[in-house]
Symmetry: C2
Subunit: 706 residues, 2 copies
Amino acid sequence: MPDTTERRARTRKAARTEDSPMSQTPNSSLSPAGAVPRPAREIRQLCLEGNDAAAHVAYRASEVIAIYPITPSSLMGELADAWSAQGVPNLFGTTPRVIEMQSEGGAAGAVHGALQAGALCTTFTSSQGLLLMIPNMYKIAGELTSTVFHIAARTVATHALSIFGDHSDVMATRQTGWAMLFSSSVQEIMDLALVSHASTLEARVPFLHVFDGFRTSHEIQKIEMLSDDDLRALLPPAAMRAHRERALSPDHPVVRGTAHNPDTYFQAREAVNPFYLATPAHVQRLMDALAARTGRQYHLFDYVGAPDAERVIVAMGSACETIETTLDALVKRGEKVGAVKVRLFRPFDARALFAALPLTTKVISVLDRTKEPGAAGEPLYQDVVTAVLEDAQSASPRFAKTPRVVGGRYGLSSKEFTPAMVKAVFDDAARPTPMNHFTVGIVDDVTHTSLPVDASFRLEEKDVVRAVFWGLGSDGTVGANKNSIKIIGEQTDRFVQGYFVYDSKKSGARTVSHLRFGPDPIRSPYLIEEADFVAVHQFGFLERYDTLALAREGATMLINTPHDPATVWERIPERVRDEIVAKKLRLFAIDAFRLAHEHGMGVRINTIMQTAFFALSGVLPREDAIAQIKHYIQKTYGKRGEVVVKANHAMVDGALAQLHEIKVPAAGSRRAAASQTPAPSTNGNDILARLLAGGGDSLPVSAFPV
Amino acid sequence: MPDTTERRARTRKAARTEDSPMSQTPNSSLSPAGAVPRPAREIRQLCLEGNDAAAHVAYRASEVIAIYPITPSSLMGELADAWSAQGVPNLFGTTPRVIEMQSEGGAAGAVHGALQAGALCTTFTSSQGLLLMIPNMYKIAGELTSTVFHIAARTVATHALSIFGDHSDVMATRQTGWAMLFSSSVQEIMDLALVSHASTLEARVPFLHVFDGFRTSHEIQKIEMLSDDDLRALLPPAAMRAHRERALSPDHPVVRGTAHNPDTYFQAREAVNPFYLATPAHVQRLMDALAARTGRQYHLFDYVGAPDAERVIVAMGSACETIETTLDALVKRGEKVGAVKVRLFRPFDARALFAALPLTTKVISVLDRTKEPGAAGEPLYQDVVTAVLEDAQSASPRFAKTPRVVGGRYGLSSKEFTPAMVKAVFDDAARPTPMNHFTVGIVDDVTHTSLPVDASFRLEEKDVVRAVFWGLGSDGTVGANKNSIKIIGEQTDRFVQGYFVYDSKKSGARTVSHLRFGPDPIRSPYLIEEADFVAVHQFGFLERYDTLALAREGATMLINTPHDPATVWERIPERVRDEIVAKKLRLFAIDAFRLAHEHGMGVRINTIMQTAFFALSGVLPREDAIAQIKHYIQKTYGKRGEVVVKANHAMVDGALAQLHEIKVPAAGSRRAAASQTPAPSTNGNDILARLLAGGGDSLPVSAFPV
């Protein structure tokens, strides 16, 4: 929370501008056209992850928060619990009551009960947790009750459990009568969380606010915080009062939760229609109100791309960021392509979708991040198909020639979705007969659904510094990187992005940190594909993993090694040496464990490795960077006295002194040619070996037992 | 079970013929064309309700049955439990193990576990019970495990709980990857239960076998039983063996229930595709095998109606029976109308749907028995839309001009769906711009979605005897009627149908029995609209309910009354007397309570009222009817000695002697004109009064608070 420590605000007075070759058309008939003038105001920018952004708004707008932790949404409940314990007040000056229940079923029931007592309520969940809430969700929606559930969307367990992200959980609730608003980035989470809390009060339809689990939920971005004034400005006082007045009370007794018979149920069920019909307009009005305060204009469906696009992707969630990044490049090349970002998935406003689509659209490729075996098609695809056929059969169709609609699946269980995959979708849409019901991101050699992807198509921008760090789950690597992000994101005007790939085995296994730093907002919700800097914090990893797979030619490599600078080259596995030579890397080594031990820090190598990164990466000028680290140490350890601060400062200086560049020979070893990835094979032992070496992504469908 | 008492078989050797003006086109390319020759065989015909028919097959085909009772599916579990306790064997000669769990979540988990041990398993549920099974359903499907859940589909609680039927529960599971096969009648339940159990073994996709709760689940019909030989002929031994061999076992260890990471989950998820693609063909092949044995041919989608139909309804569940009955009449009049009965809803085989639709189709009206507020459309509608647009955009579209598709909701929470409503749908489809997203069966005066219905359009056939009985929940009325159905259905060649309308308050409240008897199979899964016979077993009901609303002109009325035949006319409320006169009813009275008391039967009036019904209704010749009752008494009470049998026989004779015709005056009272139903009004007290009087069906949407 802004009121607690650890966050530092930086204020500025400037409207960010979008340098894009594309039109950002105001595309909903519900909102005023044109750019939104934004009043000058104090802007606080912080670096936080998506769960934190959602919890920020949810906590301040709620009085009762029932929780049950489940990955990857746990942080939201944990933060709310901690803030409540600290007595952090909500917008109304009271401290929200946070209750941990026995399961998500109980959490949903507790929310339902508290809502009936007139409280403003929220909860957070994912995956199976959401499934257990379904019975209560029908009741809450049927009774037209205002609440928001924030969902870090996660794969529902099928053939295997997965803690990673896709939309299979939220799609399992699309029939319950809840509104569903999707956020694509951390900034959007903060913004649309507020729109959700405000809209549900106006509309009396409960909202799921959805973002991609183990992507946006855990991605750190520098965002503009919404202030309490922003929240107060959007949350409608009259609707809030009406919500409270609907509380069950002996003062004005009403009966709810009755049983209906066939004579009346149907009619009473249809009585909700006006509320659903009115919901999209409420959402748009509140999006417009947000834009008036912040300059960030959202629509129910946001179009980006060429104004005369012929091929248009429709998608939701973090994929929209990747698509927009790719469009930047493709439109510059003159391709007639575009995309519709779906914000409000339910209630589905087909009219608003059509208003967003360019009249030149010939092929619509709908991307669903879920799989429903046996269905006529995935959910978003079927909705777009419905909208298109209904338009074509209406009295005055919008399109002279009905666009062709195809659908595909991507990104199941956090499978990477990259610019190359976006391009593959657009490329296929340009074919005379585009594939329908395709997959993208895998090789399906069984039912042949997959689109070919040109992996060499990459869009890492020149002015962005990309750094990858290999660490152990508990060695401080992630913490150090989060510090670096805060220093750069909150102390400078650069934009930052951090994402941390944990193995699902968590503590003790490897973690790979992916950090980007650049002059513009970073819309790349996928792992780094070409790194400028690769740090290996555990020397043993060189043997086990292909740590240099992401290193670009000429990149900088930093190794934490116990070996002497003079001998370290010989200690590096031959395969890695070959790759260093072939990619013309600059190589640096530091013995961080010895240095930490000498400074009485035990095995805590985080400050040392962070110093080395700042010294080598060029994200900031070296002197500035070191000054910032020292400043941060002062801030963090100042309370513990000058001695501690000095010891840490000494360690920073020591790190700089002990950082050695290792001379890389001009030619590799005789085995250079043999270091290539072996050709795909589906022999059982091979599969296991490739999985362990981190090569699972390249395994085709046929490699898997059913 | 056939092995237990109470059921009597009647054998005959004859193929039933369908006297229909309509073509019954063999409409799936998957099955051979033409009528199916059926070998002469012994046919056992029994009268049973839908739950009983499903349990019959499920029990015989299973080894482990995990249950948790929920209305309206409870009977299936209760029967299985009772049969297991009696040691009734399954097809394999063992007694199924029936386990009642702590909830439906536990039942689904127990099934999942038993399946992993290689057992053949089933369970039965409805509504919220099914919702609690969703997490396990994803796992069972994801692991490609064969099982069948039999679902008496029931409304999910929303603004109010309802124990009645619609498809909102099963639609909440359509994304789980289960196959879904729908039965429309009791005969179909027996047949498609077997097809489900056989198909799941062949396909390795789990099946939901679905029928309409509180309609087909509780409707009694005379059906042809499937024999054990029939079951054995369809259940595939090799697939059954393969299912058992997939059991987890230390002899051939495999790992299941693992966790996947982003590298492999997506590919492994797509590995199931071939199984889903193959499922429809398995189902059709087994439907064909069933037809070869029984003469009853089903297809994935069955077309009925005019071969050159221009307006076609697509629907599933019991509505298909009503639609077919209505088509009989409309096609005779020369209307170009037809319908597609959806059997296999998942996997959705668009090709088979298209093969079923006549090429002359201009308008497709899709009927969904569920409501999904905020969706682009209800599920079946969206599937048909998807099929139509994909066909239109294919290389060789089947239709020269793409048919218009509209969708509507009907029958929520067992709201009646009658021939007049079917006609309303066809009539609207004939308009230049048919309504889309309509409702039918209610008056929606708020968002104006409802189609106008001409309630005078009724299709009660002349040669069918229709009888309505008003009783108290525990006074034996329902039991007596079930007896009558058994006597007529199983002792004669007439067809029967029984449906019992309970108030959801169950015991102690009124029950209205609706019985039809006729020479042909009865396809009328809706309440009687014009009764030939109305019995009121509680004299007090005359005051409280509009007991004669369904009586046709010239019908027979039977009253159980304590009053003397000479004075009973004066004791009847004036409003009722007026109606008796106006409708020219014949009126009979009997003092059943006194008679029962005199014969030492306490308040058990069931045999007396049944005797009176047989004497008056003309379903059977009077002498035959009485002989049948006495025969049945002999059969039921024979074991308890000659004295008991004689006492009951004496009571039958006494009933005949004490049955008095009451002279009805030629003219009514002065208040005749005032007895009309008051005009609709939505004043709160009026609403309550109309609800209590049984007039809730006529209340419009605006009458209900949101």
